[in-house]
């Protein structure tokens, strides 16, 4: 039966099978080729060969711009941090010893009645960890300002999306001979959408490593270690000590910025005492001449307190140690940058006794 169907022919012997197959084949092939042609036509008319590849290359260029900005921002931030670090005497804000005329004090000596007028010296010398923390904090604040500026004003866009820098970094201050080096590892990547037609995203971490001269941490340790030698010195003695410092290390130039000696005193009761009190003037005839009237003062004896007053010179000596390096700093940030020398400023305070006195007081 099958064979009969397959071999079917009309009565005149014509075979319909082949033309039917051919016509069906024409339609099928035509459909396939038309579909291919339509796709080729779109490709040909747009001729957008390499569109996606170029977008990737341009995205990589944008990423390079971001990295260059971060490197420059890190360098400027490090310069600003080094300047402020030195200006503030290696402390981010004031010390527990206080501040005098803009110089953070590294020693403070006080004498008061609570201590029986015995001078008490409070040391506030910075340690290495203080210095590292101070430099780190100043740097982080400065870098954050630059990044905020970029995010607000740069206008850098990739595929219509604004590029935003992350502000969270892990910083490491590394010891390098003669230089201050800082490394920043970004905690978040900058994601740049490479193309519009697929979900490809180019992630980069804007890490950096920047360094400047000099090594402000080593300089700080040097200054902090030598500063106790300046305590309790007269002004002329200080000059000779500073000269010896300058000859020991020519890279650091020590200067006495100011030497102030406002008076101070402390009083305390040390004993009981007697003193004349309730005095009255008494008139009486003079022994030599009864006709004349003489006077005398009759006083009672009262018990009082013997007060000792110790006088001091409350010495404030301010020092500035320059390393000969200058940076263009905007201080405050709204003013045009000026060339500022990096100097390590600090002050010392102590009391020099100038005299003692006692007085019996009611």
């Amino acid at each position: 039966m099958k064979r009969k169907m397959l071999m079917a022919a009309n009565k005149k012997g014509l075979n319909y099978y082949s033309p039917i197959i051919a016509i069906m084949g024409i339609f099928i092939l035509g459909a396939i080729l038309s579909n291919l042609f339509v796709k080729q036509y779109n490709l040909a008319s747009d001729f957008d060969l390499g569109r996606e590849q170029f977008r990737i290359l341009l995205t990589e260029s944008s990423a390079e711009k971001v990295l260059l900005f971060v490197d420059n921002a890190a360098r400027l931030a490090l310069e600003q941090a080094a300047y402020k670090y030195g200006k503030n005497g290696f402390y981010q804000s004031g010390t527990s010893c206080g501040n005098k005329d803009g110089f953070n004090l590294w020693t403070k000596e006080e004498s008061n009645t609570q201590n029986d007028c015995v001078p008490q010296l409070t040391p506030c010398y910075p340690t290495n960890s203080n210095m590292m923390a101070t430099l780190h904090d100043f740097f982080a604040n400065a870098l954050d300002s630059f990044i905020s500026g970029f995010n607000g004003k740069s206008g850098l866009k990739v595929e219509g999306n604004k590029v935003m820098l992350p502000s969270s970094y892990d910083f490491t201050i590394s010891p390098v001979s003669g230089r201050t080096e800082i490394k920043g590892m970004s905690q978040q990547p900058v994601s740049l959408a490479a193309t519009r037609t697929n979900q490809l995203v180019y992630d980069i971490k804007p890490n950096f490593r920047q360094s400047i001269t000099p090594d402000v941490i080593s300089d700080g340790n040097d200054v902090a270690s030598k500063s106790p030698q300046l305590l309790r010195k007269k002004e002329q003695e200080i000059s000779s000590v500073l000269s010896s410092f300058n000859s020991q290390n020519p890279d650091l130039k020590w200067e006495l910025a100011s030497y102030l000696t406002p008076p101070s005193s402390c009083s305390r009761v040390i004993d009981k005492c007697t003193y004349k009190c309730n005095c009255v003037i008494v008139e009486y005839p003079c022994p030599e001449d009864n006709k004349k009237i003489c006077t005398r003062e009759d006083c009672e004896t009262c018990i009082g307190s013997l007060v000792e007053t110790v006088s001091y010179d409350d010495v404030y000596a301010s020092f500035s140690v320059a390393n000969g390096k200058g940076f263009y700093i905007s201080d405050p940030s709204s003013t045009p940058p000026q060339l500022k020398s990096v100097a390590y400023n600090f002050g010392l305070n102590w009391l020099e006794e100038t005299g003692r006195s006692t007085k019996c007081e009611p």
């Binding site: 397959l6 024409i26 040909a44 170029f54 341009l58 900005f69 709204s334």
Partner: protein
């Protein structure tokens, strides 16, 4: 007869086909395919818009040129400034070869390229650098630019000196020359020198937008007339931070055709 027919029929395959049928079908399809292809060729020829294709190729060339420009400006900005001795030696070379430098401008009204004078006072630049060594010491080229901004903004009387220092230093660092094979005389030392236009804007509050030349505070270019291309060059813009928390825009104008016919290393 019946026997012959029967014999012919018996040669057919199980489903009624034989090899002759199969090959005839294949032949039909091939002929059909050829006909359809022939019919489509005219459509293929008329389907490609050559102008569109040209513009797309141009776009790709511009994209490639922009990538090259971005790379070039990045390499400029990361170039470490030489120390004083080397920098001044380069400036001295520039002073000696100043007469061989040629540039040009395009007349905006006529569109004709005219030769222009290279205004370069190396002595003025050196005097400025001597009095402001901190603008270039221990810095790269981008740091040099940001330091110049500090002087430019703070000292009005120094602005001309800053402009000249920028021109001289940029030229000394990045000028390139190639052998031109021309006769040597007082105006030609056998080399054609060029420098891609570099411009710096300190005052634009939105550095992401492209600016006009008049908006740029510092600029330098050395482009002899024969190097100006017919097509519009591409521009690459890089933003750098400044010490007062503003931004500076640095623009490099790149001529891809000029680079393509320069002698390759």
């Amino acid at each position: 007869m019946k026997t012959a027919n029967h014999f012919n029929k018996s040669k057919r395959g199980q489903f009624g086909f034989d090899l002759a049928d199969i090959f005839s079908y294949i032949g039909y399809f091939i002929v059909v395919l050829i006909i359809i292809i022939i019919l489509n060729i005219p459509s293929c020829l008329t389907g490609i818009d050559t102008k569109k294709a040209d513009s797309k190729l141009q776009e790709k060339a511009d994209s490639m040129a922009l990538v090259s420009a971005d790379t070039q400006i990045a390499s400029y900005l990361r170039t470490q400034m030489p120390e004083r001795t080397e920098l001044f030696a380069k400036l001295d070379w520039l002073e000696q070869h100043k007469n061989f430098l040629r540039t040009s401008v395009v007349d905006p009204e006529t569109g004709i390229t005219l030769p222009a004078e290279v205004k370069l006072d190396v002595g003025q630049a050196k005097a400025f650098l001597n009095s402001h060594p901190d603008v270039y010491a221990d810095k790269d080229y981008s740091g040099f630019i940001s330091s110049l901004q500090a002087v430019y903004a703070a000292e009005k009387k120094e602005q001309n000196n800053v402009k000249m220092a920028f021109k001289a230093v940029t030229t000394a660092l990045f000028i390139r020359g190639f052998s031109n094979g021309k006769k040597l005389d007082k105006n030609n030392d056998g080399y054609t020198y060029y420098l891609s236009p570099v411009s710096v804007d300190f005052q634009n509050s939105n550095p992401g937008e492209s600016g006009r030349d008049s908006d740029y505070d510092l600029s330098v270019e050395i482009l002899p007339g024969e190097m100006l291309p017919e097509r519009t060059p591409v521009q690459s813009i890089q933003v750098i931070p400044l010490a007062d928390l503003t931004l500076a825009k640095i623009r490099l104008t790149y001529h891809p055709e000029r680079s393509s016919w320069l002698p390759q290393p």
